[in-house]
């Protein structure tokens, strides 16, 4: 962790969706820190709140969702409560974002060049020629062959991998200090996934960006990030350096997740997987106390009483579980 002010500091973030007569909490008090130039993985299953967290950073949680409490500071500046105008100046300029599905996040009726130019001219005052040169340079930077010819292409004329490269070019157009990548390769085939992850790693090195990688894929986490935060039902349940998390997962949920994927350390082909029983709870039916207790094989009565703190259990390794002993 960084000693100075971290690039992104999220404290006690609470986001809820207010449906008629019912509040659906998506994020229930998340703390997250991303240092300058750091890569952090945010891992969890569907509905755990990982994507809503990313949208909150960009001020993109729309009605009926609302950031209920907490603070999101980027380079020391509070983002929660900023006016839409001020947020637009942050979005794209200081924080870039790559979404899962490049087909739906690019506008189908505008050319690649137009959309890329828009990303630049929103934040910079540039001449036509400068915009064009920079767009060609960006497409080249993300490895798109014949970039001059691609400026006039529409998203539908590109393959999924190329579309995701265009998304990445837009996200890094203004040289943001932080890139949020929400399942950036989930819609892609595995060989294309490898290309895109390689591209993200190269850009991160060359541009010195920090990356928050949001994913359900522990393989991507193991291969690509330095530190991991595991989310379950709107809470961070474990946080550690990647090597420590995989070497000694502490929270029973993390252990369950690792046991569930074929090919994790300690699993052999053909063995039964150590699956977690039950299902991810609906956000309105999360149990009291520890949110994982009804699926946990270590749960005791005390787990129902209070939500455990996310506390240090090993040096640099925090977990939110009563049953894990503290050795720090």
């Amino acid at each position: 962790m960084t000693r100075a002010e971290p690039l992104l500091q999220i404290e006690n973030l609470q986001v809820s969706f207010f449906l008629p007569g019912v509040e659906v909490p998506a994020v229930r008090g998340l703390d997250l820190v991303v240092g300058a130039g750091e890569t952090v993985g945010l891992v969890g299953e569907s509905g755990c709140g990982k994507s809503v967290t990313a949208l909150s950073v960009l001020g993109l949680v729309g009605d009926p969702g609302r950031v209920k409490a907490g603070s999101i500071r980027l380079g020391g500046r509070e983002l929660v409560g900023l006016a839409p105008r001020e947020l637009r100046a942050v979005r794209g300029r200081q924080v870039g974002m790559v979404f899962q599905e490049p087909m739906t996040s690019l506008n189908p009726v505008f050319t690649v060049g137009y959309q890329l130019a828009e990303a630049l001219t929103t934040h910079f005052d540039l001449s036509r020629q400068e915009v064009r040169d920079r767009c060609v340079g960006l497409l080249r930077e993300v490895g798109i062959p014949a970039p001059e010819d691609r400026l006039g292409a529409y998203p539908a004329q590109l393959s999924g991998g190329l579309r995701q490269r265009v998304m990445i070019a837009m996200a890094v157009a203004c040289r943001p200090r932080l890139l949020l990548a929400d399942e950036p390769t989930t819609a892609l085939d595995v060989t294309i996934q490898a290309q895109i992850m390689g591209l993200l790693a190269r850009l991160r090195r060359e541009l010195g960006m920090a990356v928050l990688l949001i994913t359900h894929d522990l393989g991507l986490v193991a291969q690509n990030v330095g530190r991991v935060v595991v989310m379950y039902a709107g809470h961070a349940v474990e946080e550690a350096a990647t090597a420590d998390l995989f070497a000694e997962p502490l929270h029973p949920y993390t252990r369950g997740l690792l046991g569930s994927i074929p090919g994790a350390p300690g699993t052999r082909p053909g063995d039964r997987l150590r699956a977690i029983p039950g299902n991810v709870p609906h956000p309105t039916r999360v149990p009291s106390g520890c949110p994982f207790r009804d699926r946990c094989d270590l749960a005791v009565d005390a787990c129902a009483d209070t939500l455990p703190e996310l506390e240090p259990k090993r040096p640099g390794h925090r977990a939110r579980c009563l049953r894990v002993d503290r050795r720090v």
Partner: protein
């Protein structure tokens, strides 16, 4: 159990600004045998023809040329009774548990429908069978009276599996049965499929793009690229020593969930070419790091190498 002999499935498509006719070669000359009791996985990236191959095996598509035989009988030369028997003995589990269950039917009807159609059980006996099946797939008996929307994705997939098992099939064709599920639930379903296979001696034809899942559950693996089989091998051999350059690239690209085995994968260049205009020669040669003289004009045959393996590559064997 199944024998595929030079099976092709082409589709006539119209494309481009002038709607010109073209032929999409979804499956292009596949020879393959599925043995009784094994789990054979078809792997490959989107558009490689693996789902079309499954549909050919299920007699949902008629081959453009070549033959598909089930227990020695050509699927398209069967009489009505034989087709009916085939429909009972070969069942399917679909990818999307949200789209493959009728939302207006209760679970008891969904699972019991096959029993009714094939006249296997009726009345109280059918209800009892349904309860037994639900129990086998890990659902409570009350599930029988519920509608699909009342269940999570994993539970729906269990209903889909119970439906497939109801008619006592010999073969289950499963097209991406766990890809729509969360990791923790995916493991439950994989365990269930494995347990059922052991209890009932089922043969699985498993279609997946997830190589970690495939390594975990398969006896043999067939790798497809642009409508052709490029490699066929026992799973353990394939994952230990992939022979075809495409298989190697595919395995290399899978992120290993172990930070101690971090590596820079040898990344394949470019995209999969269109099956409408496949490259001449070996379909993989434009992306292949090992291509040499014959690759761009001669199609490599799938040739046996060693005891139980086969590979279609000019570099191998």
């Amino acid at each position: 159990m199944f024998e595929l002999e030079a099976v092709t499935r082409h589709y006539a498509v119209r494309q481009g600004p002038f709607r010109t006719r073209a032929v999409l070669r979804a499956v292009d000359g596949v020879d393959l045998a599925v043995h009784a009791g094994e789990t054979l996985s078809l792997v490959g990236e989107s558009g490689c023809g693996k789902s079309t191959l499954a549909r050919l095996v299920l007699r949902l598509e008629r081959p453009t040329s070549g033959r598909v035989r089930y227990r020695g009988q050509d699927l398209w030369e069967m009489d009505r009774d034989a087709v009916r028997r085939f429909r009972r003995e070969v069942q399917m589990v679909f990818q999307d548990p949200y789209a493959s269950l009728n939302p207006r039917m209760r679970v008891a009807q969904i699972v019991g429908e096959g029993l009714a159609i094939h006249g296997l059980a009726r009345g109280a006996e059918r209800d009892a069978r349904v309860r037994e099946l639900l129990e086998q797939v890990g659902l409570p008996p009350e599930a029988a009276g519920a509608y699909p929307h009342e269940f999570s994705g994993g539970q729906r997939q269990r209903v889909g599996i119970a439906r497939a098992l109801a008619v006592e099939p010999r073969v289950v064709v499963a097209d991406e049965p766990v890809s729509a599920l969360d990791v923790s639930v995916q493991a439950q379903i994989l365990n269930l499929l494995q347990g059922l296979r052991e209890d009932r001696g089922l043969t699985y034809l498993f279609i997946s793009h997830d190589l970690r899942v495939v390594e975990h559950i398969s006896d043999r693996v067939a790798v497809m690229y642009l409508g052709r089989l490029v490699e066929l091998a026992p799973a353990a051999d394939l994952f230990r020593e992939p022979l075809h350059p495409y298989t190697r690239a595919l395995l290399d690209a899978v992120p290993v969930p172990d930070p101690d085995r971090r590596r820079e994968p040898r990344v394949l260049e470019g995209d999969v070419p269109s099956p409408i205009a496949p490259p001449p020669g070996c379909p993989f040669h434009p992306r292949c790091p090992d291509r040499f003289e014959p690759c761009d004009h001669r199609v490599p045959e799938l040739r046996p190498t060693g005891t139980a393996r086969a590979v279609a590559c000019h570099r191998c064997g």
